[in-house]
Symmetry: C2
Subunit: 737 residues, 2 copies
């Protein structure tokens, strides 16, 4: 029996060895072996109890932008990074950060109710008692307002919901809307409501979305109790994140500030988030038609649309002050290529305690840096420069990272190779979004690291999930396309720097997001109690950082990118075709009087107007760009690339550094020039949700076919530029030296 | 302008004339013209206020089986039919009809609650005050029981739900289950629960299914208030309907009665229906895992599965008495073919007042009979005999109709041409199920009768609905396949008599079904307030009756039947293929350990066992039967059939009479010999829901592939017999006389 065990151990060692000797993208065999040895040491340094200890400290008190404890957190981190031997710089930006002065909401007819707008402490979680230090629930960058009007329930308040309202002949003009959280990024709700003429907007969390319908509520379970309110930014983030007063440039001392009044990224109407405790009497007081079945949430009432007879009075005022956003930048100079930067970041500011969002991710950055410092102690140095960043003021709208990126834009364009982001992270499955030229590279990492509970690789566990959900096994780890909602956005979409956003989730859901209840207590009970997934994230992000830092040739490649973007191309072509077919079908229904035929007794019908037919667009520029990329993609041989001369390697690396940027165009996307990436952008009407090939896709969705054609041509040119970049790279690798 | 209107009126008249002169299936041109004239008169006699008046009288007091007012309703109808010149026979059957003696339900741990089990009166509806005469909420044909056990929430209590429980390692063995109404016919819930080892069963109406989630509740709106309880039969109806004590034969005086004790159609465990008011504290007291997301209903709580800690005590006892079921049979002898019967029926017994179920349908039968009597006054007589029937004791399990059919089985097999059923009917769209050999015939009627609100034909309105729902326009009016749940079942599935079930709905939904709140007041407010759809149903059913009564050649045909049944054939073949593929896929997931890989932290996993692979079945007997029918279907020319000699016409009619019966086999379906139709049956595990080609389909679904093969062969023979019948019919029509 004992011999058998020894034999098995030997076999395990052999298989480990075989894994060890596998190729590593971007590394020569010799450097690959070195790299693997470094990574093994790195893993050995990781200590989950550091994550626990730091989270406990950093989320001990509310630490929003400008708060006393927020500064303590900054100092704590800066001290840590310094103690680990990093060159630390705390950069301060003074940004607009409105905080609430007046928040009043009351139902004044047909019954009366005064909203409490507070999150009371819960038993067993002393953190929730710190109400004096916490910002009360509000939506940041709402304008001031004092409005009284009939209420209208608009479901999630997204475009499809307004189409339903239109069909019922219901307008929100001059009304206050109440929308459910979810279904889109929150900022879309007041944006659309204002476009439709509403004068105020309430957003509440329905128990069907993250309350008792999902599971037991806090403190009994992880989900949102009746008082929980999701805070959050409502600035027009898909137009432009960052400080509203310094659009496109850093909010440094002395920088000119544009006026607050009429600032284009502020909401057009006052907005306030509320709990389902406060929403219930308002919704119960609504009359009018019963809402469509899919709109009904989990409150014990019949969801009606209104308008009225419920009339609400909403009054909010803010302190329109500047507050300091602190970015902690910890640098470790590269030994060989100090002017090539691998940037790793996470924000540190929270809405309240933010144990999950952002501290669970922030502590993985710190532990990664600490483990790197341990490597340094052994004499190791990264070839490229590492920058560990803790961003301030992410919550109100990616302010800290955006101001830093805008301030250092020219240097970043020259030096940044990639940006690796994390944010709140939990337990379950690895999720990652990013640049598809790095998908294969990242996939290698997911094949090597084990799930800490199951022992299978992270890829295999994702694949198992895919199979358990009835889908195919995964042939490789898929990167999702990046929209927005965290600090990768300025790097990726404003400068065209290759980026990742990484985290664990799927087995740690809850309703604490942006509430008083996102506490250390909550995290330890329901998220990642022993930080084993946090520690695994350190491995994943650490390898991503270290391999990019030390690769002989940067591990980009083209096949996955080509397949993915060709897929997007097919999607937008199909989108136009489908829209043409559905427009024709819908127009026929309208003209044939079908809507009148099926109107139910006692209901109002507002037959939609026929829409203009969808013309045939000339997709040739897009198709030929994609075709050229596809033809070239197969010609790049990543392992051959490591064999070129040292000079050519550096040429290659420079070309790779600028590769993602070749997918940008300085003129930006229509109506939002800040966003210059032409493959990935947050949706203008979805917010965080990504729109790929955004210029073309959104023009088609918005039925602006003139613009769609212009955008196809622009995108075609972008793709041609990318292909030209590919040709240079391939030219350097295919000629034998 | 005036001339234009006159011109338009002329055109309308011309187009009417042209419609009038259209062929009428089964009629020579001359008889078609006569028939249309008769129908025009018939329509003229219809008076919606009769429906209103009779409903008001017949639903004035509770009139369940054996109740004093039930007898009054019977006498009222018998008098009416007599006054209209019908030969009236009231046939009495003494059937088992248990009524509740003891009903107790209490939560005894971890908290306590005593269920009220009552439906209180509501403001504005004095009918709901008649609680002394009403049967309280109960499920009829539950056994007596006194059980105390932990509670388990089983969602709808259908097979898929038990698979989910199995995966979580949760057994209902020795427990009391609580299931939601809907998802299947109610009797399936205790049947399955008992098969799984449960010792008691509660069924409640969740507000998400027909309560406040759907709309305002009674008396504010049509939906179920917190106290409403759906009564209903829970006998094993898919095994055999009718009196449990006289299986397969009439419950006439002196007929032998089998014992009550151990009667196979009674439930195996005690069952009680409850309101959501009573269900809420029970569900709130459940612990254990959170139920799957799709199981959550509309109560403001987290739906958990249990078992326990909720412990309930359920005690129910019944008076196991016989009660008289009265069938009113009103006959009008046919002038030419008195021994060919067209039977039109609806039940008259209700659970309480039953304004909608069944009186809304019953009054259409009466008004049809009255209008026919007006025709008779003009000297008109039907060629075939008409029988207008009001069935008793339908609610406990189709007892009145089944006993009548069993008593008169031999005569019915000789004489019955078709049975046309209605039951509760509302407002909206015409829905009809029935024999597909009569689909084309019925379709003609739907093209000629106008929707009373919209003016378009009933077919066109259904077609508009189909288009509004995103589907294609309808090329013809589709008959759905008949399962069970109303009085057509004994005619259709026990004797093989062609049948229809017809009604309006889709714009009159509510939660009153089988509750105290199905009152005249409720009907007038929310169903068909001015009885215009009821009057339209009189037209539809009246034409169906009158055309079948007077057709020269019975209007059956084969193309629609062939297409429909070939479709069912393709479905069962695909079912086997899909089951093979899904079994293989599922087994691979099990053997690859995928379930272990995706088990969430803190949850129990019970990996299902691999299932036996699905063999390839020999579908040839089914395929060749269908092929032969398809080949023959095109050879029958319905208009040529009216041109054959009078003798041959009668031969044809006799052949058509027995046509549906050729789809039966006297040995019946496996484990339920009462059901002899081999194309349509209620599902053994769905109840009312139809299973087409039931022998084959259910054997595959239950993975009994030996039986599936046997049933394919049996079905093949049935189809061959049908084809032989077709050949005889075609033989008579294709030879020119």
């Amino acid at each position: 029996m004992r011999y058998l065990i020894i034999l098995m151990l030997c076999l395990v060692s052999l298989s480990n060895l075989s894994a060890q000797s596998k190729d590593l993208m971007g590394f020569t065999p010799i450097s690959a072996a070195e790299q693997r040895a470094t990574e093994a040491k790195f893993d050995g340094y990781i200590n989950p109890s550091n994550l626990d200890e730091w989270m406990k400290y950093m989320s001990a008190r509310p630490h929003h932008v400008g708060s006393p404890y927020g500064k303590k957190v900054v100092d704590f981190m800066a001290d840590k990074f310094r103690s680990w031997g990093f060159e630390v710089k705390v950069e301060r930006f003074d940004v607009l950060f409105p905080t609430p002065k007046v928040r009043e909401l009351e139902l004044i007819a047909p019954t009366t109710y005064t909203a409490m707008l507070q999150e009371p402490p819960v038993a067993g979680d002393t953190y929730t008692e710190q109400t004096d230090e916490a910002l009360p629930p509000y939506n940041c960058f709402s304008i001031d307002g004092d409005v009284t009007a009939e209420l209208v329930f608009v479901n999630y308040g997204i475009p499809a919901d307004y189409e339903e309202l239109d069909k019922r002949g219901i307008s929100v003009e001059g009304k206050i809307v109440i929308a459910k959280y979810q279904g889109s990024w929150r900022g879309i709700k007041p944006k659309l409501a204002a476009e439709k003429g509403a004068i105020g907007c309430l957003i509440y969390s329905d128990p069907a979305d993250d309350g008792y319908v999902k599971g037991e509520t806090y403190p009994d379970g992880a989900w949102k109790n009746e008082y929980g309110v999701q805070r959050g930014a409502v600035m027009d983030l898909p137009m432009q994140p960052g400080d509203p007063l310094t659009p496109g440039y850093g909010a440094v001392e002395g920088a000119p500030r544009v006026p607050i009044e009429g600032n284009p990224v502020l909401t057009k109407i006052p907005v306030l988030p509320i709990s389902y405790h406060d929403a219930k009497p308002l919704l119960a007081a609504l009359g009018g038609p019963v809402a469509p079945g899919s709109w009904a949430g989990g409150l014990p009432l019949t969801y009606r649309i209104g308008p009225g007879p419920a009339i609400v009075h909403l009054k909010i005022e803010f302190n329109w002050d500047l507050a300091p956003a602190y970015d902690v930048i910890a640098t470790l100079q590269g030994s060989t290529y100090p002017d090539e930067w691998i940037i790793r970041g996470n924000h540190h500011d929270a809405w309240v305690h933010g144990a999950n969002d952002p501290i669970s991710g922030m502590v993985t950055v710190m532990e990664e840096a600490r483990a790197v410092s341990e490597l340094v102690k052994t004499g190791w140095r990264p070839k490229r420069t590492l920058k560990y960043c803790a961003w301030g003021a992410e919550e109100p709208g990616l302010l800290g990272s955006t101001e830093w990126v805008e301030t250092h834009a020219e240097e970043l364009k020259k030096k940044a190779i990639a940006y690796i982001n994390t944010d709140g992270t939990g337990r379950g499955y690895l999720n990652a979004g990013g640049s598809h030229t790095l998908e294969k590279f990242f996939g290698e990492i997911t094949e090597e690291i084990e799930d800490p509970t199951h022992g299978s690789s992270l890829l295999d566990r994702r694949s198992a999930k895919s199979r358990a959900d009835g889908n195919d096994a995964l042939s490789h780890f898929p990167l999702s396309a990046l929209g927005s909602g965290s600090d990768y956005s300025p790097f990726f979409q404003h400068l065209g720097i290759a980026a990742f956003n990484i985290g664990f989730g799927g087995e740690s859901s809850g309703g604490e997001y942006h509430t008083m209840y996102d506490s250390y207590e909550h995290y330890k009970r329901f998220k990642d109690p022993d930080f084993r997934y946090g520690a695994t994230l350190v491995k994943v992000a650490g390898r991503t950082t270290l391999r990019l830092a030390n690769a002989d040739v940067l591990p980009f490649e083209f096949n996955r990118f080509s397949k993915t973007v060709s897929g997007y191309g097919k999607e937008v072509i199909a989108l136009a075709d489908d829209l043409r077919a559905s427009t024709k079908k819908e127009n026929t229904l309208i003209l044939d009087g079908i809507y009148e035929e099926v109107v139910a007794p006692g209901t109002t019908l507002n037959v939609p107007k026929p829409k203009a037919e969808v013309p045939f667009l000339n997709f040739a520029p897009l198709q030929s760009g994609l075709y050229r990329i596809e033809a070239l993609a197969g010609k790049y041989d990543a392992s051959a690339a490591t064999k070129v001369s040292a000079t050519d390697r550096q040429k290659l690396n420079q070309l790779f550094k600028d590769l993602e940027r070749s997918l940008t165009d300085d003129s930006g996307l229509p109506r939002r020039p800040w966003f210059i990436h032409h493959v990935y952008a947050p949706g203008f009407y979805t917010g965080y949700g990504v729109k790929t090939l955004p210029g073309v896709r959104e023009a088609i969705e918005q039925r602006d076919f003139v613009e769609a054609q212009q955008q196809i041509e622009k995108l075609g040119k972008v793709l041609e530029r990318y292909a030209a970049q590919m040709e240079q790279i391939i030219g350097l690798t295919s000629v034998k030296k």
